[in-house]
């Protein structure tokens, strides 16, 4: 169990992390989502001991690690660009930590070979032990990098955008692999990524970081369905966000006003999930529990299992509508064709002027 409290770091006076608090549990997959420049890599490097914090504490199982040197922390760090040792073979790379670490090095060659062989099997590198690093593909390097860290049995394994340098196909396979390997070893993974799909898919819990601050720590399902702030909703990349003013339980945006869910007072932002919006005929009748806006079609994108349609609202804002083909047949629209976009009022998320999610009845039940 690692606890981080009040952690702060600035580079040349520019703050990278501001008062970060976080606790990492044992045996969990924690993903850390943040856009580039959010300070996510800095946080990881502070935890690994590769940078020194300006303020705050990092504790691991009660021991204060804040200023401990990197090599005495007992943590693992998997770098984005693999950082394999170029002068060594695959097996030597993996054996390096066991042989040369300061604490409890393994001097018995047979024992090293046994553990290395087990790890090579686990990450699926059998047969490549003697290869030089230059002869490996990107995915293989990633596995070597992972095996090299995991064989030292770190208390927490830090992964810095581990899939960032892989192509899409490999990335999907490694997603499954990473979870399988983690579960097999029972080690905690702290996985930093800038990709929301990766963060949602892989984490038992996820942290959303922006501008050096933690915005939300929750299960991916909660982050997805109830983002704590407008910014989180934006990072999750699943919401149409409209901003405006509200009065008397109605949300005003230009010439239009939209009903707000019951129990919501002053909302400054109105969020609609892409897949909660329906596309209706321009003159379609509207149920009482639904709201709608007129829109014109711009373009659509076919994504295999789903289709994304882009519409323009009268005030110029773009709305994205996602339809899963398992539930709907694809529809064909001409550009500039008028339509009416509608949604259930209870699906609306409202945020106040500070950007914080306003709890409503449905969310109250979910929580």
């Amino acid at each position: 169990m690692m606890e981080i409290d009040g952690l702060a770091k600035a580079f040349d006076g520019v703050p990278a992390l501001v008062d970060v608090a976080l606790s990492v549990r044992n045996d969990e997959y924690l993903t850390l989502l943040g856009p580039s420049g959010s300070g996510k890599s800095t946080l990881l490097r502070l935890i690994a001991g590769l940078e020194q914090a300006d303020a705050g504490k990092i504790r691991l199982d009660g021991a204060d690690l804040t200023h401990a040197p990197a090599h005495l922390r007992g943590l693992g760090f998997v770098q984005q660009k693999y950082a394999l040792f170029p002068t060594m073979s695959v097996a030597d790379n993996i054996a390096f930590g066991l042989r040369h670490r300061r604490l409890a090095p393994v001097s018995d060659a047979a024992e090293v070979a046994r553990r290395v062989a087990r790890m090579i099997d686990l990450v699926g590198l059998a047969g490549l032990e003697g290869r030089q690093i230059g002869q490996l593909s990107g995915g293989q390097k990633q596995r070597v990098s992972l095996a090299r860290t995991l064989v030292t049995e770190p208390k927490i394994c830090l992964l810095d955008e581990p899939l960032g340098a892989l192509d899409a196909n490999l990335r999907e396979r490694m997603t499954v692999e990473l979870r399988r390997i983690r579960e097999a070893l029972g080690v905690t993974f702290l996985h930093v990524t800038g990709n929301e799909a990766e963060a949602l898919a892989m984490g038992d819990r996820m942290v959303v970081l922006d501008a050096g601050r933690v915005l939300q720590v929750d299960s991916p399902a909660t982050v997805y369905s109830a983002p704590a702030t407008v910014r989180v909703a934006r990072f999750v990349n699943a919401y149409n966000l409209l901003s405006g003013k509200s009065s008397g339980g109605r949300f005003r945006r230009g010439a239009h006003d939209l009903p707000l869910p019951p129990g919501v007072g002053d909302a400054a932002h109105y969020a609609l999930r892409y897949d909660a919006v329906a596309i209706d005929e321009p003159a379609a009748a509207l149920d009482d529990d639904r709201a709608s806006l007129p829109a014109t079609f711009i373009a659509s994108e076919f994504l295999g299992s789903r289709v994304v349609y882009l519409f323009r609202l009268p005030d110029g804002a773009v709305m994205e509508v996602e339809r899963h083909l398992s539930r709907f047949d694809p529809i064909v629209l001409r550009p500039d064709e008028p339509r009416r976009l509608s949604w259930a009022i209870c699906d609306v998320l409202a945020f106040d002027a500070a950007g914080t999610l306003i709890s409503n009845d449905r969310l109250g039940r979910a929580a």
Partner: protein, 285 residues
């Protein structure tokens, strides 16, 4: 530009001439080193071809009116001095370049302070050091006052070589090693050093040759026990004989031997890395 055929030919011919200009004196010197001895002088025509002057340099020629070159002990001193200079300046250069991997206050000052060492004319440094030694009552010796100046001269070269190497060095490899629980010292030994070794070798080569051939700094600071270049400089005042030319040819051959050793070490370091990995592969299988 490279489509201008005519100009290209002219420049190629010019470059050939230029290289002839660089090698000309040496070729003439090499020819004259086979002059007949001991009567033959350091000029044409060649009276008769002979190896007399080579024997003379090596001390196996019959005694004659030409005094033997005072090189025996001087050569030993020069080699020891060059070796010590090489070791110290390579270590200093590597340490400093390592420090320059981080930005720090006053880095420009330190940079130019070090570069100053190769910029200041040797004769000035030699003079300054001789003055310091004179006033402090320190005897001037090749292993003391001359040695420290040699390092002042070669350390900037080593520093620049190592700086260039570290500029291209990926620091994340070291971070990976620390994160595996390996101390910075072991990391340097096992990871960093093997990666920068070719650079270290080049720095050593630089330092050795510069020190071996150094004389303006040594002239005022070596005292009475001279090094090879000072011994040669001493012959400037008197009449020269082809034995100097023979010596020049021999030292050039020595330089090439050194270059060959450098090449072999370079090749070995590559091969050793390959051999090591094969060893472990068998262990696991």
């Amino acid at each position: 530009m490279h489509q201008l055929k005519g100009l290209r030919l002219v420049l190629a011919a010019y470059t050939a001439l230029f290289i002839a200009f660089l090698y000309g004196p040496f070729v003439i010197m090499a020819i004259l080193s086979f002059q007949q001895g001991p009567e033959g002088g350091p000029q044409f025509p060649i009276i008769a071809w002979s190896l007399f002057w080579y024997k003379h340099v090596l001390g196996i020629a019959p005694p004659s009116r030409v005094a033997p070159l005072p090189i025996g002990e001087a050569l030993t001193r020069s080699l020891i001095l060059a070796f010590a200079t090489m070791v110290v300046s390579t270590i200093l250069g590597t340490l400093t370049a390592q420090a320059f991997r981080r930005r720090f206050k006053g880095s420009s000052f330190v940079f130019y302070l070090i570069i100053l060492g190769m910029m200041v004319p040797g004769v000035l440094l030699g003079l300054g050091m001789a003055l310091v030694a004179e006033q402090a009552g320190i005897p001037r010796t090749w292993w003391g006052t001359a040695f420290v100046l040699h390092v002042v001269y070669t350390y900037p070269f080593c520093f620049l070589v190592m700086l260039a190497i570290f500029n291209r060095f990926d620091a994340s490899v070291e971070e990976a090693s620390w994160s595996l629980g390996v101390t910075p010292a072991t990391t340097f030994r096992k990871i960093t050093f093997p990666m920068i070794f070719p650079g270290v070798l080049s720095a050593m080569l630089f330092a050795f040759t510069l020190s071996y051939d150094e004389f303006p700094r040594t002239l005022f600071t070596a005292g009475s026990q001279v090094t090879i270049p000072i011994a040669i400089y001493g012959t400037f005042a008197v009449e020269i004989h082809p034995n100097l030319f023979a010596f020049g040819v021999l030292t050039t051959l020595f330089s090439f031997a050194l270059l060959t050793i450098y090449g072999v070490l370079m090749a070995l370091s590559v091969r050793r890395a390959a051999a090591r990995s094969i060893g472990l592969q068998e262990e696991i299988a």
